[in-house]
């Protein structure tokens, strides 16, 4: 981002893509065989449980309980083993009374606002912390950063009591607010640090061009901060999606229950419906996997975006 404003001394960057590719090629060319083998082993070890989960989720109850998932290697085309039954049961109503299909939608209802709202508020806050002059600015920022070290668990009981008096327990609004609050300090911190690295002259130039704070924010700062915004959005999305504790406490089980809570519910029942767990587990992790695979570019870049100017 910032390279665009840095002075170029001579030739125009005719095709920045070519440069980039050749650089990456050079870097990977340096990896020795030992490194490659080591990494392959690591990847294999990490992928193994997921693979087992995936295979088991398509096997019948009898097959799951009589043999391990690796037994399919011997006889992969035995049609008596394979079934889609687990998924149809998990996604619809089943004996255990857990509807993962509904929980899947609930998970989205919880996660999307709990991701978008804190980013929006944090971006506004980060702008004010970076580009506006006001009394107590530094102290406020220190307080917000200090909140990073306070564990969320400390707030659970007071929040539960507060929601109780307000009659908000087991509503979506309750989890939204909790997630927004818990995610906010990190969001403000990351975004402010990123914005502080943006060239000041650009903001001053906008000031002279007649842009109000509002215009500067939407037309310049937001587009220029995309890497930091994207990386935080991914973090927050994954964190909220995978969260069990906050949802269990403030949403509980029932109509509004989300995937993680539903999955845990399946596990609780003795014996009955245990064959559904692999399928349910896969339904739960499919979204994080897709998010990660499609946005990994931002994910890796974003990790450093707060620290060093990208």
């Amino acid at each position: 981002m910032t390279t665009a404003i840095q002075p170029g001394t001579g030739t125009p960057a005719e095709d920045p893509q070519i440069l980039k590719v050749s650089k990456e090629g050079e870097a990977s060319g340096k990896a020795s065989w030992a490194v490659k083998i080591g990494l392959s082993v690591l990847c294999f070890l990490w992928l193994m449980p997921v693979l087992g989960l995936l295979i088991n989720s398509f096997r019948s109850r009898d097959a799951q309980f009589s043999s391990g998932w690796w037994s399919i290697i011997k006889n992969p085309f035995d049609s008596t083993v394979w079934t889609l039954n687990n998924y149809t049961q998990v996604l619809g109503d089943n004996a255990s009374g857990t509807n993962m299909g509904k929980a899947f939608i609930n998970s989205f209802i919880v996660t999307v606002p709990a991701t978008v709202i804190p980013i929006l508020i944090a971006a506004f806050a980060a702008y004010a912390f970076t580009f506006m002059e006001w009394r107590g600015r530094d102290i406020m920022f220190i307080i917000i950063v200090a909140l990073l070290v306070v564990p969320n668990q400390v707030a659970l009981v007071p929040l539960l009591k507060l929601y109780g008096t307000l009659g908000m327990n087991n509503t979506f609004a309750a989890v939204w607010l909790a997630h927004i609050g818990f995610g906010m300090p990190l969001a403000v911190y990351i975004l402010r640090n990123y914005m502080a690295g943006l060239p000041k002259a650009v903001i001053e130039s906008a000031k002279i061009d007649g842009a109000s704070h509002f215009t500067t924010f939407w037309k310049l700062i937001i587009p220029m901060s995309t890497p930091a915004l994207a990386s935080f959005a991914i973090f927050q999305f994954l964190w909220v999606w995978n969260d069990l504790l906050v949802a269990l406490i403030f949403l509980g089980r029932g109509d509004n229950t989300i995937l993680t809570v539903a999955l845990q519910g399946l596990q609780g029942q003795t014996g009955q419906g245990r064959e559904l767990i692999p399928a349910a587990g896969f339904v739960t992790i499919i979204v994080p996997i897709l998010v990660f695979l499609s946005l990994q570019r931002f994910f890796i870049r974003g990790m450093t975006s707060g620290a060093v100017k990208g």
Binding site: M1, T2, T3, A4, I5, Q6, P7, G8, T9, G10, T11, P12, A13, E14, P16, P199, A201, V202, E204, S205, A206, K207, I208, D209, G210, A211, T215, K219, L220, P223, M224
Partner: protein
């Protein structure tokens, strides 16, 4: 188009004891190209930013035309600024960059389009209008920054070292382009630079600052021919003026080695026993007779038509002004390139009397 007036404008940064810009008074005429020049930290950029509204004015006033803009926000001042690092908006195309201010001002699309195209034509940017800044060279980016200012047709152009990020050759080219463009558009311009060559070649007038204080504000010719004090004398001109501390003889003359220079009596009256005599390299008379200050040639710079002779005084009594302990400052003289003295040779120099500068040794102020 408008006049600009700094009226005792002062800026004190919070926590600083000394003002960064101290009671600055400059009147800039309509359509004038004024260059603010000085060493780094002299307050030239701060002055410009005060005029832009990016820096608070702690004392005095600033006027653009007949409006007091001291407390107006930047957008109400009707000025356009070109930044040192251009400050282009990286995610916008060249056309959007140039049209941004107009878009905010609510100018309609077709009008923006015509004005952007017009400016692009002037600056030779037409074929790059759809590119992003990162796909442009340094010189092209610089022109986009200029274009952004031109499109707005403001009352005043402000330029903060716009050439310092270009390579030497491009800098000289762009220097002439900016100067001629300014003359053509006739917009009042305030230009900040630390490069005295840029200041000399571009400005209608130059304002030289040091430590937040205005040293002299005059035309390049005047600055060169009649520097108001020792600092101006040493700053303007390349190679710099030779400044030599010499004794006053008492009868309206100063002694320059064995050469006696007549100086206005009235002027000398205010000086002490010593004065500083300034002489530009091209105003030095070089002889081999024993007349003037004896120097030993240390180095000769051959430039073809001319040569610059760097030499050090032979007698210990002569002192180059501004010379520090242990580091000798050479006396520089321009000589005919076809008759240069040899290294180690002794030469005698004295200033030609029509271009003599005499300064008070204590205060540094010009005498007469």
């Amino acid at each position: 188009m408008a006049t600009v007036k700094f009226d005792n404008a002062t800026r004190v940064y919070p926590g600083a004891t000394r003002p960064s810009v101290d009671k600055l008074n400059i009147d800039i005429a309509d359509g004038e190209f004024l260059v603010l020049v000085g060493p780094s930290g002299c307050g030239k950029s701060t002055s410009l930013r005060m005029l832009a509204g990016l820096e608070e004015v702690n004392g005095g006033k600033i006027w653009i035309g007949d409006r007091d803009v001291t407390n107006l926000s930047p957008k109400d001042r009707d000025v356009a600024m070109v930044f040192q690092n251009y400050a282009l908006y990286p995610h916008m195309t060249v056309a959007d960059n140039m049209g941004f201010a107009l878009k905010i001002a609510g100018v309609n699309k077709s009008e923006i389009d015509t004005r952007v195209k017009e400016a692009a034509k002037i600056l030779d940017l037409t074929q790059y209008l759809e590119r992003k800044p990162k796909a442009l060279s340094g010189g092209q980016r610089q022109r986009v920054a200029m274009g952004r200012a031109i499109v707005r047709s403001p009352q005043v152009f402000l330029m903060d070292e716009p050439l310092s990020n270009l390579d030497a050759k491009l800098r000289v080219q762009t220097r002439t382009q900016i100067a001629s463009l300014q003359r053509r558009l006739g917009v009042t311009t305030v230009y900040v630079t630390h490069d005295q060559v840029e200041a000399m070649t571009m400005g209608d007038r130059i304002a030289l600052l040091k430590d937040g204080l205005l040293q002299q504000c005059a035309t390049p010719r005047e600055m060169y021919d009649r520097p108001a004090n020792l600092f101006v004398a040493g700053f303007i001109g390349s190679p710099a003026m030779n400044l030599v501390g010499v004794p006053v003889t008492g009868d309206g003359e100063v002694k320059f080695g064995s050469h006696r220079l007549p100086v206005d009596r009235a002027a000398l009256a205010s000086a002490g026993k010593d004065v500083v005599v300034g002489v530009r390299p091209e105003d030095v008379e070089v002889t081999s007779n024993n007349d003037g200050m004896a120097l030993t040639v240390e180095l000769v710079e051959e430039l073809g038509a001319d040569a610059y002779v760097h030499a050090v005084p032979k007698e210990s009594g002569m002192k180059m002004y501004g010379e520090e302990e242990g580091i000798s400052k050479p006396f520089v003289a321009r000589v005919d390139g076809r008759r240069v003295p040899q290294k180690g040779e002794t030469i005698y120099v004295y200033p030609s009397s029509e271009h003599l500068h005499v300064f008070n040794a204590e205060t540094g102020v010009r005498l007469g």
